[in-house]
């Protein structure tokens, strides 16, 4: 009985050491690789695409008020769930292929407004390119994105 007690105490101590090591490793790894809590998007200049139209905050707001536009949030689902433009759907750039069936139900001339985090995020542009390649003819990029929209205290939801 005493030996079993010692074994359990040893197991608990070993477990504690492993937990502490895991915390240190996890935090250090995500810090070094800029992921998780330390994630930041790479600033890139907007790609020049002939069929792509950049719109301003005011224009984006007009489109939202007109109820004619479908807003698409190109960010990771995690960021989308933290908050997004009211009525926007989430089509993360990395998960584009998984949404093909859903996208095919949308009319190709539907007004789409694509955004991501803001000026330091290129996902909206890359997603727009994919949408245009998929046959959508009326796609706008709200390049100011979530940061500009939220800073202006415009309608959002979680």
């Amino acid at each position: 009985m005493r030996k079993r007690e010692l074994n359990m105490r040893l197991a608990l101590l070993e477990a504690l050491v492993l937990i502490v090591a895991a915390i240190v490793l996890g935090v250090a790894f995500t810090f070094v690789t800029h992921q998780g809590f330390f994630a930041k998007t790479q600033p890139m200049p907007p790609a020049a695409t002939p069929n792509m139209e950049m719109i301003s905050l005011a224009q984006a707001k007009e489109y939202l008020d007109s109820h004619n536009a479908l807003f698409i949030d190109a960010r990771h689902e995690f960021d989308y769930q933290e908050g997004h433009i009211r009525g926007a759907v989430n089509i993360a750039l990395k998960k584009f292929d998984a949404h093909i069936t859903r996208l095919n139900k949308i009319s190709k001339d539907k007004l789409l407004v694509v955004y991501c985090d803001g000026a330091e995020c290129n996902s909206s542009i890359e997603l727009t390119v994919k949408l245009i390649e998929s046959g959508f003819t009326n796609v706008k990029v709200f390049f100011g994105g979530w940061q500009e929209w939220n800073s202006a205290k415009l309608p959002v939801e979680k």
Binding site: A15, I19, A22, G26, T30, Q35, F78
Partner: protein, 156 residues
């Protein structure tokens, strides 16, 4: 029968098997913690911050436990943590099934379309829990791969 369950070679093989599963399971999660956080959110039990905390720490814990178990470092501590993780995850999957959630397990891949949860996953986990509990309480833990290889060198 008693000697079979205390057999050092059997202990070693099961450590490698269980440890290997956890190492493989951790790799996809470590490389994309945000995707793993999303998988956690699908279970609808914690909010985004706690999901991200879990996504930051849990894959590292799986990797460390898996590697440690394979090489024979802190075997009981690893077995204890693996048991806790498996029991916790099994309860989570069961809860999700009861609530009718049609979601991916998030165990080995963060692709939302693969490895959907089901009672098969629960049965698999129960099997792994039995192995980890056995490793936690079995005697003769003073064996590791290096010792085994030294005692049984390749004779070719």
């Amino acid at each position: 029968m008693k000697s079979l369950f205390s057999n050092k070679i059997l202990i070693l093989l099961i450590r490698i098997f269980l440890g290997g599963i956890f190492v493989i399971a951790s790799l996809d999660k470590i490389t994309d913690p945000q995707a793993f956080a999303n998988s956690i959110l699908q279970y609808k039990v914690v909010g985004p911050t706690l999901a991200m905390c879990t996504a930051t720490i849990l894959p590292s814990l799986e990797l460390l436990c898996g590697l440690s178990l394979i090489i024979g470092l802190y075997p009981r501590g690893c077995a204890l943590l693996i048991t806790v993780m498996l029991v916790g995850f099994t309860i989570l999957v069961f809860s999700a099934l009861l609530r009718g959630l049609d979601i991916s397990c998030g165990c080995f891949s963060q692709d939302p379309l693969v490895n959907k949860i089901g009672y098969q996953k629960i049965a698999e986990n129960c099997g792994l829990i039995m192995l980890s509990v056995w490793l936690l309480f079995v005697k003769n833990q003073d064996i590791n791969i290096l010792q085994f290889l030294r005692k049984h060198p390749d004779k070719s």
